[in-house]
C-alpha cells in the first residue's frame, strides 16, 4: 500500500515566520531589561516553536484535511501572548507545581502543550459528529453538573467562586461549560430548526416564537445563567448570552428573537443592578473609576494610564510599567500589549482575532450539515465575543469583567478550553473537506 500524505504547506508556510517573531520578542525584552546586547535565554521561545511545529507534523500524519490557517493564527496570537508573559514574568507571582518553581511564561508554555495535545486528540479522534450530536442532553447535564459542583465545592479568588481544586492544580470549570453549552445548543437547534423557523404564534403585529419548542433550551440556559450570576461571574454570563443569541439568530434567521433577547438582557441587567451589590459596584466603577481611585477604581485607572503611555508606537517591550496594573497577566494583558507595543501592536493583535473570526465563519458556511455549521458558529462567536468583551472592558467601553483574552491571557483552564474549541473547528472543517472529495469522486483518504 502506498501511503499518500496530505501535506499542509500553507500551514507550515504561515508557521515559519514565528521562528523569527517569538525569539525576537524574547531578545528585545532581554536587551531592554539588562541593558546589554546579548541573546539571553531563548529556551521558552524555542520550546514554543517546537511545540507548534510538532502539532503541524501530527496534523499532517493524522491525515487532517481541515482548515490550514487555524493553527498558524492561534500560534501567532499565542506567540505574542508568550512574549508578553515572558516580559511580565519577573514582576508577577510564580507558581509552585510538581516541586518546581515556575514563572508565568513557563507555566503558560506547559498549558500550551496540554492544550495542543487536547486539540490534536479532538481533531484526529472526532471524525464523526455523532458522539456530540446524539448525546446533547448528556453534555448539557455534564455542564450543569460542573457548574453546580463549582458552586458547592469551589473556592473563591478575587471575589468570584469559580475554582475547583483538582489535586495540585486549580481548574475553572466555567471555561469548559462554554464548550458544552455550544454543543448542546447546536444539537438542539439542528434538530428543531424547522419547527422554530416555520411555526409561530401571532399576537397582534408581533410574531412570537413557538415557546414549547424553545422551552428545553430556555430552561437549560436559565439554569446556567442563574448559577453563573450567583457565582459573580458576570463576564461569563455576558459571553454565554451573546453566544446563545448569535446561534439562535444564525439557526432561525429571525430578527425578532434577537430583539426579544436584547430586551430581556436590558431588563436583566437593570434587575441585577438593583438586586446584586457586586453588579452595581462594577457599573459604578465603569461610569466613574476616579470616584474611588485608590481602591475599587485602581485597576481600571492603571489600565487606562497604560494605554495612554503606550501611545501610537508603544514604550517598547520591557520598557513600560504594565505590572503597575493589578492582575495584568490575566485580565489586563491587552493593556500591557497596548502599552509596550503601542496602538499599532494592539491593532495587529485585534486583526489576528478578526482573521480568526472570518475563518471560523467560513468553516461554518462551508459545513454540509446543520449541526456542524452551528457548532462552528458557536465556537467562533465564543472566542470572538470573549475577545470583544475583555478588550472593551480594558478600554472602559463596557464595565470590566474578569474573563480572559483567548490564547493570550495567563491561565490553564482558558488555554485548554480554547484549544479544545480549535480542535472542534478542525474536525468540522475536516468533515467538509471529505464531503467535497466524495462529491468530486476522489477516494477517501
Amino acid at each position: 500500500m502506498r501511503l499518500t500524505l496530505a501535506w499542509r504547506w500553507a500551514e507550515l508556510r504561515m508557521l515559519l515566520p514565528l521562528a523569527i517573531l517569538v525569539p525576537l520578542g524574547f531578545f528585545v525584552t532581554h536587551v531592554a531589561r539588562e541593558g546589554v546586547l546579548e541573546a539571553g535565554s531563548l529556551t521558552l521561545a524555542m520550546g514554543y516553536l517546537a511545540l507548534m511545529l510538532a502539532a503541524h507534523a501530527i496534523l499532517v500524519l493524522s491525515g487532517q484535511r481541515g482548515d490550514q490557517l487555524l493553527l498558524p493564527l492561534v500560534a501567532t496570537i499565542g506567540g505574542v501572548g508568550l512574549v508578553m508573559l515572558n516580559r511580565l514574568a519577573p514582576e508577577v507571582e510564580t507558581t509552585q507545581a510538581f516541586g518546581l518553581q515556575l514563572d508565568v511564561a513557563q507555566t503558560q508554555l506547559l498549558w500550551f502543550s496540554v492544550g495542543t495535545v487536547a486539540m490534536l486528540v479532538v481533531a484526529a479522534g472526532l471524525r464523526d459528529d455523532g458522539p456530540l450530536r446524539h448525546y446533547k442532553y448528556t453534555w448539557a447535564a455534564l455542564g450543569i453538573g460542573m457548574l453546580v459542583f463549582t458552586a458547592l465545592f469551589g473556592f473563591e479568588v478575587n471575589g468570584a467562586r469559580l475554582w475547583v481544586a483538582l489535586g495540585p492544580i486549580a481548574v475553572q470549570p466555567g471555561e469548559f461549560v462554554k464548550i458544552v453549552l455550544v454543543i448542546f445548543i447546536a444539537g438542539y437547534l439542528a434538530d428543531n430548526r424547522a419547527l422554530l423557523t416555520e411555526a409561530s404564534l401571532r399576537i397582534g403585529p408581533i410574531r412570537v416564537p413557538p415557546l414549547p419548542y424553545l422551552l428545553p433550551m430556555l430552561a437549560l440556559f436559565g439554569v446556567v445563567m442563574l448559577v453563573v450570576v450567583r457565582q459573580n461571574d458576570l463576564g461569563q454570563a455576558l459571553l454565554l448570552f451573546g453566544i446563545f443569541l448569535t446561534m439562535l439568530f444564525v439557526a432561525t434567521g429571525r430578527r425578532s428573537y434577537v430583539l426579544i433577547g436584547l430586551l430581556l438582557f436590558v431588563a436583566g441587567v437593570f434587575v441585577a443592578y438593583r438586586l446584586f451589590p457586586h453588579v452595581a459596584v462594577r457599573v459604578d466603577i465603569w461610569i466613574d473609576p476616579f470616584a474611588d481611585p485608590t481602591d475599587r477604581g485602581f485597576q481600571p485607572i492603571r489600565g487606562l494610564f497604560a494605554f495612554a503611555r503606550g501611545g501610537l508606537f508603544g514604550e517598547g517591550l520591557g520598557q513600560g510599567l504594565p505590572s503597575s496594573i493589578p492582575l495584568v497577566h490575566t485580565d489586563f494583558i491587552f493593556a500591557a500589549i497596548a502599552e509596550e507595543l503601542g496602538l499599532i501592536g494592539a491593532f495587529a493583535v485585534l486583526a489576528l482575532f478578526l482573521t480568526f473570526v472570518f475563518r471560523g465563519l467560513r468553516i461554518a458556511m462551508l459545513a454540509r450539515d446543520e449541526f456542524s455549521a452551528l457548532l462552528a458558529v458557536g465556537i467562533t462567536a465564543s472566542l470572538g465575543l470573549q475577545t470583544l468583551i475583555i478588550v472593551a472592558g480594558n478600554l472602559k467601553l463596557i464595565p470590566l469583567t474578569g474573563i480572559t483574552l483567548p490564547f493570550v491571557s495567563y491561565g490553564g483552564s482558558s488555554i485548554l478550553a480554547s484549544f479544545l474549541m480549535i480542535g472542534l473547528l478542525l474536525s468540522v472543517s475536516h468533515r467538509t473537506a471529505r464531503a467535497i472529495d466524495r462529491e468530486q469522486g476522489l477516494p477517501d483518504r
Binding site: V28, A194, T197
Partner: protein, 147 residues
C-alpha cells in the same frame, strides 16, 4: 554613548518585531484572498441548489453508495423507475416516500410503503421536518440530507 546606541538599536528591534507581526498578517490576508478564489469558494458561490442527498449505504448499489444526488423542490423516492430518485432495493416499495422543500425547510413523508421510512433511525408515521445532517432510510438505502 553606548547607551544611546543601545537605545536606538532597541527601538529598531522593537519596530522590527511589530513589522514582522504585520508581515504575518499580510500573509494571512493573502491566504484569505487566495481561498476566496479557490475551488471551494466557487462551489460555495455556485451552490444554488436547495440541498442534496449523500448516499451512505446501498447494498444493491443503485443509487451507488458514496455518490451525491442533487435535489429539486419535489422528489419522489421508490423502486419504480419513474421516481425522481430511483432506488433499486429489495426492501423499497414502488412509490416509497416523498421528499419536498416547503417554505424554508425539507419534509419527508412516507407514501404507504411496506417497510416504512426511517428518519435518524425512527420510523415515521406522518410528514416530518428534516434539517441538514439528518439521515433517512428507504429500504436498506441510507442517505443523509446535506446542503
Amino acid at each position: 554613548m553606548t547607551g544611546e546606541v543601545l537605545r536606538i538599536l532597541l527601538l529598531a528591534l522593537q519596530l522590527g518585531f511589530v513589522a514582522i507581526l504585520y508581515l504575518i498578517l499580510l500573509g494571512f490576508a493573502r491566504s484569505l484572498m487566495r481561498d476566496l478564489r479557490s475551488a471551494e469558494a466557487q462551489q460555495l458561490a455556485s451552490r444554488t441548489g436547495i440541498g442534496r442527498l449523500a448516499v451512505l449505504e446501498s447494498p444493491d448499489d443503485e443509487p451507488p453508495a458514496g455518490t451525491t444526488i442533487s435535489l429539486g423542490p419535489i422528489n419522489s423516492i421508490g423502486r419504480n423507475v419513474n421516481n425522481t430518485i430511483y432506488v433499486e432495493d429489495d426492501f423499497a416499495s414502488a412509490s416509497h416516500a416523498m421528499l419536498t422543500f416547503r417554505g424554508r425547510s425539507w419534509f419527508v413523508e412516507d407514501q404507504g410503503s411496506t417497510n416504512g421510512t426511517y428518519v435518524n433511525g425512527h420510523r415515521i408515521d406522518r410528514p416530518v421536518a428534516l434539517s441538514y445532517g439528518d439521515e433517512i432510510m428507504i429500504g436498506r438505502v441510507r442517505m443523509r440530507l446535506e446542503r
